[in-house]
């Protein structure tokens, strides 16, 4: 570990040390519900990145589904239902 650190200090132009990498990855880990609260020395950087990608993809999918649902609801605004009245008042003031 110490040899890696000293190597990084000598390499010119590279400002990112191993410690910074570890620190950043553990910060990212705290944002992922899957991994939050797990000890950061037990979760590899690779796993954190993997779960981050999965989580973002899930969030994208959720927004997709919500957009779908919303667009359906908006399309029903021409009917007589209560929902339509709400939609009209929300969107057509």
């Amino acid at each position: 570990m110490s040899s890696r650190r000293s190597r990084s200090r000598q390499s010119s132009g590279s400002r990112i040390t191993d410690d910074q990498i570890i620190d950043l990855v553990s910060k990212l880990q705290q944002l992922i519900p899957e991994l939050r609260g797990r000890r950061s020395d037990r979760v590899s950087a690779s796993k954190v990145l993997q779960e981050t990608c999965n989580y973002i993809r899930n969030l994208h999918r959720e927004v997709d589904g919500l957009s779908d649902r919303l667009s359906q609801l908006l399309a029903s605004a021409d009917t007589d239902s209560d929902q339509a009245a709400i939609i009209r008042s929300l969107l057509m003031e």
Binding site: S14, I16, L31, A45, S67, D68, L70
Partner: protein
């Protein structure tokens, strides 16, 4: 600014060590304030207030882009509107936000833009030799998932990712609340259920 620099001996300016120490302290100070700013921004995404601002701008935008009732592109339009409003809330301070906003303008000129990039692209400098191939691969995937972040350095990418995730979570909360409100015939959804980790 001098008041923040801890007890430096007043060596003459020509002394290289003095300059080095001073520069490092300034760098650290900048790095800290940068970190602090980013942290504040991320916290803002989690507030009720931000969610309300987003919701009302989103609804206004939906009003303006009054959708036709054709189904397949309507969903895409809603999604694009949701993303555009989200990006505008980031106020140009994030790369992902700028990428979303400029992507809409550049849709027509996309071909020309791609060609230009290929010409100007220098061979990528591999500064990150210490990372294993599996980490490298996943970084690449991550860079493709966050808008506008394909070629960022490791630390910048993680910065953008943190902000992007917080923003996406808010987007989900807001759109869920709006959808439930409409679908529920106007009954207020329980306010606390969705705002589990937010503070006003």
């Amino acid at each position: 600014m001098a008041s923040f620099i801890p007890n430096l001996e007043l060596a003459p300016d020509t002394c290289p060590e003095f300059k080095r120490r001073k520069r490092r302290i300034t760098d650290e100070k900048l790095a800290y304030s940068h970190y602090h700013q980013r942290h504040q921004r991320i916290k803002r995404w989690r507030t009720q207030r931000e969610q309300h601002i987003y919701s009302s701008k989103f609804i206004q935008a939906l009003r303006r882009s009054r959708l036709t009732s054709t189904s397949s592109s309507a969903s895409e339009e809603v999604h694009e509107t949701a993303d555009r409003v989200l990006a505008s809330l980031a106020k140009g301070t994030t790369r992902w936000g700028r990428a979303i906003l400029s992507a809409r303008k550049m849709v027509r000129h996309k071909k020309a833009k791609v060609a230009a990039n290929t010409r100007l692209r220098k061979p990528a400098v591999n500064r990150e030799k210490r990372k294993t191939p599996s980490v490298q691969r996943k970084l690449k995937v991550l860079g493709r998932l966050v808008p506008g972040c394909r070629k960022l350095s490791f630390s910048n990418l993680l910065e953008e990712t943190s902000d992007y995730i917080a923003a996406l979570e808010m987007q989900v909360r807001a759109m869920t609340a709006i959808t439930e409100f409409i679908a529920g015939g106007g009954r207020q959804p329980p306010a606390d259920r969705l705002a589990s980790n937010v503070n006003s």
